[in-house]
């Protein structure tokens, strides 16, 4: 009777989609991190390259093995673990022994991510969980910084990097203090130009604020990052610092120093914005940013450590679900908007 002889399939509407996909978003974040990695290798040489490669590979392999042990299909194809690896590597001192890098990476993925249930369930940013673990386990190695742009950085591998597992690393490079440590213990502020272009010592990826900023702008332009989080963090830090600078400029640094030094830019742009561990509403994101900014200033000014971005973000990650239950979107037709 009918000319139509094909089988038709049925499906629930909508029958079209925007084409957005988690792996595409994650791949873009990965790409946005590459310039930062490239600079870190330029500034710290082979050591940084080895640290980043070890961090990323260990993270990816750990996730793959855990999936296989659980008889689940591997999830490394969604690229999220690759981001964790890169971010984690970027937070480490560039001459950290590789065995420490690997241990922290395993901890980051196994405890920071898989234990919570994998992608979408991690309460904390896994990269920072790994770093926090290393900070607690190896406090000395984690606060040993090499100078950027050393003449032999592309020819020699620092002895500490290849230290035998569980042996005391032997540092052969000149030890340097980070700008924040110099500020805290010697009250010397680095110049903005040094900070912006990364001509200071510090973690592998936190030194060049300008490249981090470009990566962030790229992601915001592609609607893959909520700009409110880094903006509110930076506004809060700048505002509080400015107020204290008015009170006593000899003790408290200028706002631009606070913004461009240490891990603030990397943390605000790439870590605090981890979608899984940050609030879902825009209002919640502002509050979350204020919280991180406030904690960063408190830890840097009055804490025992020169740097506080990592703990500030981890604490805010813990608060994030509570922010979500406190701040929900006002449903259309309810509250004061109705009528």
């Amino acid at each position: 009777m009918s000319k139509l002889s094909q089988y038709l399939e049925i499906g629930s509407s909508p029958h079209v989609s925007s084409g957005a996909s988690v792996d595409v978003i994650m791949r873009n974040v990965f790409v946005a991190l590459l310039p930062v990695c490239a600079f870190s290798i330029y500034a710290f040489g082979i050591a940084a390259a080895l640290v980043l490669a070890t961090a990323t590979l260990t993270c990816v392999v750990t996730e793959h093995v855990i999936c296989r042990l659980n008889n689940k299909p591997t999830t490394i194809g969604d690229w999220s673990v690759a981001i964790t690896g890169l971010l984690y590597g970027l937070t480490l001192p560039p001459d950290l022994p590789l065995w420490m890098v690997a241990i922290g990476a395993i901890f980051a993925v196994a405890v920071g991510k898989a234990l919570f249930g994998g992608l979408g369930c991690n309460a904390f940013n896994p990269a920072l969980v790994g770093r926090a673990f290393l900070q607690a386990a190896f406090p000395q190695a984690m606060t040993h910084w090499s100078l950027p742009l050393a003449a032999d950085r592309f020819t020699d591998i620092p002895g500490s990097v290849l230290a035998f597992p569980f042996a005391e690393p032997a540092y052969d490079a000149v030890t340097a203090a980070t700008p924040l440590a110099r500020m805290k213990f010697e009250a010397i502020q680095a110049e903005n130009s040094e900070l912006l272009w990364g001509m200071t010592s510090g973690s592998a990826g936190e030194t060049c604020a300008a490249l981090i900023f470009i990566g962030g702008v790229y992601l915001v332009a592609r609607n893959m990052m909520n700009w409110r989080i880094p903006v509110s963090i930076m506004l809060t830090v700048a505002l509080i610092t400015w107020i204290f600078m008015q009170i006593d400029p000899t003790v408290y640094p200028r706002p631009s120093f606070m913004l461009f030094s240490g891990g603030l830019m990397l943390g605000a742009v790439f870590m605090a914005t981890d979608m899984v561990a940050s609030p879902i509403t825009n209002a919640g994101c502002w509050l979350y940013g204020f919280l991180i900014g406030g904690l960063v200033v408190v830890i840097r000014f009055w804490g025992g450590m020169p740097e506080g971005v990592m703990y500030a973000i981890l604490l805010a990650n813990a608060v994030s679900p509570h922010i979500d239950s406190l701040i929900q979107p006002r449903v259309f037709g309810t509250g004061k908007g109705a009528g």
């Binding site: 009777m1 009918s2 000319k3 139509l4 094909q6 038709l8 399939e9 049925i10 499906g11 629930s12 509407s13 909508p14 029958h15 079209v16 989609s17 925007s18 084409g19 957005a20 996909s21 988690v22 792996d23 595409v24 978003i25 969604d78 999220s80 994998g118 992608l119 979408g120 369930c121 609607n223 909520n226 979608m275 899984v276 940050s278 879902i280 509403t281 825009n282 979500d324 929900q328 979107p329 006002r330 449903v331 259309f332 037709g333 309810t334 908007g337 109705a338 009528g339």
Partner: protein, 448 residues
Amino acid sequence: MLNLARKDSFANGIHPPEMKDETSHLAIRRFPFAPLLIVPLSQHLGKPASSVVRAGQEVSRGQVIAEADGFMSVAMHAPASGIVKKIALAPGIGGNMIESVYIEPHPASSQEVEGGEACDVESATADEIIAAIQSAGIVGLGGAAFPTHVKLKPPEGKTLDTLIINGVECEPYLTTDHRVMLEQTADIFNGIRYLLKATGAGESIIAIEANKSDAAKKLQDECPADLPVSIRVCPVKYPQGAEKMVIQSLLHREIPSGGLPADVGAICVNVATTAEIGRLLPRGHGIQERVITIGGPGIKRKGNYRIPIGTTVRFALDEAGAAKDIARVFLGGPMMGPSVSNLDIPITKGTSGITAFTQAQIDEATGHKHIYPCIHCARCVEACPLFLNPSQLGILAKNEEYDRMVGEFHLMDCFECGACSYVCPSHIPLVQYFRLSKKMVRKLSAAK
């Protein structure tokens, strides 16, 4: 007044590709009578009509074959002159069986329509117009198929100040309202006269999206000077055609959760419904046909057709020509249109179109079928026009926490526009979860 500059819009929403260019320029064509027409007695929300014909009876086109059963019901009219073969169950789009009148049109059945009692807009009272709309079998032709006469009477203690004629047509692929506005302009203004009188509203606004500027211009040019009507062009955004959204866009009034347009003094009628009122009432006719868009890449002869009610999807596809690689057919547009599982279901008053996809479109939309966990990216929160939290609702739906979905997260407000599923990068079937959850909630509360 034609006003392009003002930002008449609502918050959130999405911009799916419009896909209207292939049919928007094609004039409405008449569709032939199928060898068998199936007229369901329930094509609207509310009570089914009660049949007044019997098997073997001869009916003429336009004749009443079923009368409204109570106020929440409308009449049905014979779409063609012919013989009633039987009154029996026929499949509906939801897989349910509906009591229907099977009519076999006479060969070469005439297009002449049997007239009834005319309703003159000048002399009729508001109640007479409402009654005439009910007996003309008029329901919302935009898709909801809500009996139009029911909403015309303002509830006790409420007054209606603004009549909104909804010509937004925000679903991709559909161009029926667009063509009706271009080709039945006078009918629309005539319909507005009836509706203003029936509702007592002082003014009316025709809402159009910016992708139909030719229709806006035509309406503007031909607008009668004595009619209190303005034409407003809104920026294109889905789901602007939803009642809550179009009222927000035009009047900046928010219908309360669980409320009706009348709660904010407005009433919203689809533009094709208005045109039918303006065309049918002066003649005393009832609805026996409607305009639908048959389109999508799975169709060879795409177009806008005036199609008899009761034509089966199979006949429509054969006439319009299904492409070789047709793979999925749905009624209406791709955002909200239900998928056809049985080609022998009839076109009803609420059918605004038939869209057919080939495998290529299905692959593009759901090809990467891998469902990732929710990553809290908030794209659904930014898409939901009702400011719900689809991410949270999705998690609760999976855990079957229906009480929390309803009580804390306003599940029942969701009108299933599908914007959340459309944007979700994890490909979570959010709106599908919500549809199922709403069914479960109704089932559970009925069990109590």
